[in-house]
Subunit: 198 residues, 2 copies
């Protein structure tokens, strides 16, 4: 037991290593909150030494920034399957979003709710949010939103997050009703914020 098998080193493609490590980060986020994930655990899971992780990501923050970005891309694809430029139907968007959270709510909460301004994760999460607001503006057919409208949609995203997460956890009502509430509130909020600018 005391003698460890020398275990022949294997050199891997750096790109593959990065992908592997980010994948492990995503998977771990589904099991525990971010601040409970240690570099040691990730390295152990990957079968490498701590030091190698720092070779690819100069800092733990840099590592998790990549992880969060990757998760953000996944969510955007789930909610806006039509792609970056072509607008999706609002029904599809709300449904895709809710479905994503249903399947991945552990991951999602670990990512985007566990951030505060000043926090290093906040800026990364904000990138994804900004893209979601842009996509929502696109599906709503709004061309030149007033700042207040952008702010309202951004805030509505928080509303949607909380509502979907709560529903995924406690199921307070029918799924279709949640979707109806999402769509109705978004339209109402935009209307209120936009009407304000007159």
């Amino acid at each position: 037991m005391g003698t460890t098998t020398p275990q022949r080193r294997q050199r891997h493609d750096p790109v593959e290593r990065r992908k592997q490590l980010i994948g492990i980060g995503l998977q771990m986020l589904t099991e525990r909150p971010l601040h409970e994930i240690t570099v040691d655990a990730v390295a152990a899971q990957a079968g490498i030494s701590r030091t190698l992780l720092f070779h690819y990501f100069p800092t733990k923050q840099d590592f998790y920034a990549e992880v969060v970005r990757a998760a953000g891309r996944r969510m955007l694809r789930a909610a806006f399957p039509a792609g970056r430029d072509s607008p999706s139907e609002l029904d599809d968007v709300t449904d895709g979003y809710l479905s994503f959270i249903e399947r991945r709510h552990e991951l999602y909460t670990g990512l985007f709710r566990g951030t505060a301004p000043g926090d290093w994760l906040h800026d990364i999460a904000q990138e994804t949010r900004t893209q979601m607001v842009d996509q929502l503006l696109l599906t709503l057919g709004i061309q030149r939103p007033a700042p207040m409208v952008r702010a309202a949609i951004g805030a509505w995203l928080s509303f949607a997050e909380e509502l979907c997460l709560d529903w995924a956890a406690h199921r307070p009502g029918n799924r279709d009703r949640v979707l109806a509430l999402l769509r109705g509130s978004l339209r109402n909020v935009v209307e209120l914020a936009d009407g304000d600018s007159n």
Copy 2:
């Protein structure tokens, strides 16, 4: 410099010490996110040793649980000055809430947005949210809310948080318009969620 003055020890009232430490925690949360606050820093600010902090709070988590509870009480008082049982006017509530965030948005974000489910802070923050939902139900005159209505109001709180924080930071529009948006969206969301149960 190498010799430290023995510096006569001073015994303080435990209750006062606790208050002092919690106060320091609240103040520090206005400057940096929670996970960047070390026990050493708090102890140093108070002029005591790390060990003494652990004498009053068995764990860092216990310490910050107290801090978060204290902040929650402050916020509830700001938003619902009428008190626990008598209902306030919705106009007063939204205004009090927004004013609180205007004055204290660094603190507020540090507290309630930096939590994820599974996180030990989440349960504490949730206590305050539950109380706010109850108060809001009271001011809205809703007696027996359907689960969906409670969920909707809880989610609206996230909406309000995000909107107010964004407004405090970037001022996208007039203050009165924010208040109107808050009131209007709340009424609409409740209506949508309630109508769903028919």
